[in-house]
């Protein structure tokens, strides 16, 4: 079997927390990403969802090596880039690109569209100078802008157009992996659809693998056949979308899905049953022992506080990290079920 395009193993990113005052001391660590593993094959999309602050952006920035991980491996085409030096990274940066969330601040306002999109060509000295203009104009057309936009500045474009410029810039180097961090959440609904369709067309045409980070569960479901759910720096469930949405196993996934606004349901007249997560979001500086979700979980038992649940198959496709998962197959019917709230 060929090695996957990208394989992440036990990836960890801890940010130091410094004290206030003249002599700052390190008080602790923000465990932004705390041991995650996944693989991404060429041309595939993996969705990454989860609570705000659970480490999605940090994961994206680790894979693109905008951060250097505290520990763990990032195997790109079999080669570990986790500790690669800037010089070693240069050729790899071409292959792994990022589309940023904010189309308003992620483009340099003083550069023309041509300069923005062409910059990677200059840095990597890829296309001879006399061919650059043609290449950039070609990219503009690929993302549905006009070649005449070459000499314009970002402020002359709408949000959707700016996001297209960001996508064109990410495509300049013909990456194999694109990390799309909330690529459409700053955009209008109608433009979201344009950009999503565009990314799907490009994915098919150029066989790009996407790590697709988003909080809109309907859009993630639309874009990604496989989805990983993160909570407090860890992946708590990963499964094909059909299963994840119809039969979530992790209680957090269940709560997450139940919180997604669904206009069809409201239109149909139904009031949806939302699982209200009570309790504070635990701090990533001081995450709970055992299962990170236990302090808010309505199924938690003693074991949840003492033993971290392994991320493993529990019937059906996919993997889940929970001692008492939901929606497991009949063989697992001896799973203890408790509706009592015995969480701390």
């Amino acid at each position: 079997m060929a090695a996957p395009l990208l394989e992440v193993k036990d990836l960890v990113m801890h940010f130091p927390v410094k004290s206030r005052g003249v002599i700052s001391q390190t008080l602790g660590q923000v465990k932004a990403v705390d041991g995650i593993s996944f693989t991404l094959n060429a041309g595939q999309s993996l969705g990454l969802v989860g609570e705000s602050g659970c480490g999605k952006t940090t994961t994206g920035r680790l894979i693109t090596r905008l951060h250097k991980p505290t520990s763990g491996q990032i195997l790109f085409e079999g080669e570990d880039i986790a500790n690669a030096s800037p010089r070693q990274l240069k050729p790899i940066r071409r292959d792994i690109q990022m589309i940023f969330q904010d189309p308003y601040t992620s483009l340099n306002p003083r550069q023309t569209v041509g300069e923005i999109i062409g910059a990677p060509l200059v840095i990597h000295n890829l296309v001879p100078k006399n061919k650059r203009l043609a290449r950039v104009q070609e990219l503009l057309e690929i993302v549905g802008l006009s070649p005449e936009h070459y000499n314009r500045y970002p402020h002359e474009f709408s949000g959707g157009q700016r996001q297209r410029i960001g996508i064109a810039r990410a495509l300049t180097l013909q990456p194999k992996v694109l990390v799309a961090d909330e690529p459409v959440s700053a955009l209008d609904v109608s433009i979201q659809a344009q950009v999503i369709n565009l990314m799907q067309d490009l994915q098919k045409e150029f066989n790009i693998a996407f790590l697709f980070i988003a909080h809109d569960l309907a859009i993630v479901r639309h874009f990604c056949p496989e989805i990983a759910v993160m909570y407090l720096g860890k992946i708590v469930e990963q499964a094909p979308r059909e299963q994840l949405y119809s039969a979530p196993k992790h209680p957090y996934t269940k709560a997450l899905l139940s919180a997604a606004p669904d206009i069809q349901q409201v239109i149909a007249g139904g009031r949806r049953e939302r699982i209200r997560l009570t309790g504070d979001v635990p701090s990533p500086i001081n995450p709970p022992s055992g299962c990170p979700f236990r302090t808010r979980c309505w199924k938690a038992q003693d074991i949840c506080a003492t033993m971290p649940p392994p991320l493993e198959p529990k019937g059906g496709a996919g993997i889940v990290a929970c001692h008492f998962p939901e929606n497991t197959s009949p063989e697992d019917a001896n799973t203890p079920v408790s509706t009592a709230r015995n969480a701390a």
Binding site: E51, S52, Q101, D102, S158, L187, H215, I219, L256
Partner: protein, 353 residues
């Protein structure tokens, strides 16, 4: 004199123009709506349609720009467009507060998060630093920031996008405003936090009988919280009515297109999304006819060239439900969408077997 018969908030013929070197930008044209205390108005619309500009006029923010504003904004019997800058300053952040769209630029990067929130409190309350800090921590806890007593001393860059948005909300809520304008308050948030924030806003609304304007492009959020909905397009109201009427029976093709373009968590996944084609018209030289003409899927059904030449008026199609569109028989919209859905589902099912 407070006018008892007027609704708590009554925006009347609000027009906001910006003179620019290219000409006058007609950002908001003759906009009218009302809102009672305890109720929520959702405002949706394309980027650039005037949602933020019209709403920030309520806070009097146009006073600090080159905007030319006309019309009336009655809040609790006072026309906010007529009062002095100083009176407006006393109301802003206290009676009327706004959660701004962009949490990154609204928070100062060099000041501690907690100090920025406390400042908003001290601006309207004579309290000690210590009391302001205690109130700040309480608000941070209320919007769901873990370990608020510790994170109160963090800088904005140490917070995730969603946490920064919660800080903005804490700042807006700290003086218990009677009118709260939330400009895309949950766009940066994941759904569980979004649900919490929406719950929080609704709890606050119940507790203090707050009037809430919710600007969002998320129709799911609208469905969840709004009593009434105003749809804006190119600076004007194009549809206005109860949330239920608007979502179940959209009557202006732009609203219909918006509802069509969003995927939902249960629908088929194997078809491309259906965006609204094209882009909105110039606000400097607005078209003579309907601003949506050219992108509209139904204008060919309107006899003559009316869509191209004649601006439709905002007229009731039923009690309390208004639309700005020449199309008389709105049922054609539902016919087409139903047909499209059926075809798609059939294809998906055929593909699956």
């Amino acid at each position: 004199m407070p006018d008892i018969s007027r609704p708590f908030l009554s925006v009347e013929n609000l027009t906001v123009n910006f003179p620019t070197p290219d000409g006058i930008v007609h950002a908001t044209e003759s906009l009218s709506y009302t809102l009672e205390r305890g109720k929520t108005l959702g405002i949706v619309g394309e980027s650039g349609s005037g949602k933020s500009v019209s709403s920030s006029a309520i806070l009097g923010l146009h006073r600090y720009s080159n905007a030319i504003v006309s019309g009336q904004i009655w809040l609790d019997g006072t026309d906010l467009l007529q009062i002095s800058d100083n009176d407006m300053r006393l109301k802003r952040g206290k009676e009327v507060a706004m959660i701004f769209q962009d949490p990154l630029s609204a928070l100062h990067p060099y000041y501690r998060v907690g100090d920025q929130i406390a400042e908003a409190y001290r601006a309207h309350n004579t309290v000690t630093k210590k009391a302001a800090r205690a109130r700040t921590i309480e608000m941070l806890a209320r919007v769901g920031i873990p370990q608020p007593d510790r994170r109160v001393d963090d800088y904005p860059h140490q917070f995730s996008g969603g946490m920064r948005q919660r800080v903005m909300i804490a700042m807006a809520l700290i003086n218990d405003p009677t009118l709260l304008i939330a400009d895309e308050p949950t766009t940066a948030l994941d759904v569980t936090v979004q649900a919490q924030i929406l719950d929080l806003l609704q709890d606050l609304q119940r507790e203090f009988n707050t009037a809430l304007i919710m600007i969002t492009h998320d129709l799911g959020v609208i469905a969840e919280v709004a009593d009434d909905v105003l749809v804006m397009y190119a600076g004007r109201a194009v549809e206005y009515g109860s949330a239920r009427a608007l979502l179940t029976k959209p009557s202006m093709p732009y609203t219909w297109g918006l509802i069509q373009s969003v995927p939902d968590v249960t629908g088929p996944v194997d078809r491309p999304l259906r965006p609204i084609p094209g882009s909105p018209p110039s606000l400097v030289q607005p078209p003579a006819g309907c601003a949506f003409f050219g992108r509209c899927a139904f204008s060919s059904l309107v006899p003559g060239d009316r869509c191209a030449h004649e601006l439709p008026e905002l007229l009731p199609i039923e009690a309390g439900h208004l639309k700005r569109c020449h199309l008389e028989d709105v049922s054609v919209m539902y016919a087409e969408s139903v047909e499209a859905d059926r075809v798609d589902t059939a294809t998906v099912e055929a593909g699956a077997h």
